[in-house]
């Protein structure tokens, strides 16, 4: 990467600090995803399923970043997929909020 204003440590072709950030974010989002899936297994509700799915999509982001970094994926594809993932996450979280309300209404019925 040779864009102007770019700062970073390079080890041959490997962009070290970027790789570290990607690995860390991958691990942390994976941990968060484990809680999401565990909570869904406990609750079994549509809302929790959507939250778990949103967290799974979040895990996909650092993976996409990694693929782009090693050159398996072109920067353009990476960008499209990454912003697509953002959109999917938003839809899933909105859906989760929507279903929470319908569950509440169902439980309130006598």
């Amino acid at each position: 990467m040779t864009e102007p204003g770019h700062v970073g440590v390079h080890l041959g072709p490997v962009h070290v600090d970027f790789a570290v950030v990607l690995a860390l974010s991958g691990l942390m989002t994976a941990a968060l995803c484990v809680f999401g899936v565990a909570a869904y297994r406990r609750r079994g509700s549509v809302s929790y399923l959507l939250v778990a799915l949103a967290l799974c999509v979040l895990v996909a982001r650092p993976i996409l970043g990694g693929l782009a970094m090693v050159g398996t994926m072109s920067p353009a594809t990476h960008h499209t997929l990454e912003h697509g993932a953002d959109a999917v996450i938003v839809v899933l979280v909105l859906g989760a909020a929507y279903y929470t309300r319908s569950v509440e209404q169902r439980l309130e019925e006598p």
Binding site: A38, A39, R43
Partner: protein, 170 residues
């Protein structure tokens, strides 16, 4: 087995001695729904302890079931934890350690003594408290105390519940 019934069964296996309301609250199910499925779960034992109905997977005898039910109550569990850590303890020390009123302690001790979990020994005018079956009690405390992963999942659940309810109210 239906999905709902499987989840109820799984929850009881994970939280032996869970009481009825915790079961409905934790699974987002209506009271009648949980009652319906519980009546059809043959391997689950039911035990009424001090006004609450608790549910157990197989493998616990009556003393263990009653002890688990008592250990599901926070203050009673704290008292047993203090008594397990120290061999012989005076009631005043336990009340001090937990920062609870003496009357609160006595109320819980009555329940714990009634089910043979804790014993009050009178030595002249001094009363000391001991755990009747220390090893078994510590083991059951382990079943009641959630693991780190379970505790974090509990908190995550509470967080998501709070966030989603907040979003749905907007």
């Amino acid at each position: 087995m239906s999905e709902t019934r499987r989840r109820i069964r799984q929850r009881i296996h994970r939280d032996p001695g869970v009481h009825f309301r915790a079961l409905t609250r934790g699974l987002e199910l209506a009271t009648g729904q949980v009652q319906y499925h519980l009546a059809r779960l043959d391997d689950i034992t039911e035990e009424r302890v001090n006004g609450r109905t608790h549910y157990y997977p197989p493998g616990y005898d009556e003393w263990e079931r009653r002890t688990l039910a008592m250990l599901r109550r926070e203050t009673a569990r704290d008292i047993v934890l203090v008594l397990c850590a120290e061999d012989r303890t005076r009631p005043a020390d336990v009340a001090d350690r937990l920062d609870i009123a003496r009357s609160t302690l006595e109320h819980h001790l009555d329940g714990l003594a009634e089910h043979g979990i804790v014993e009050k020994r009178r030595d002249g005018r001094r009363v000391t408290l001991t755990v009747v079956r220390p090893e078994e009690t510590v083991e059951l405390l382990g079943a009641v105390e959630p693991t780190l992963l379970e505790r974090l999942t509990d908190r995550f659940e509470r967080l998501v519940d709070g966030l989603l309810e907040g979003a749905a109210e907007e």
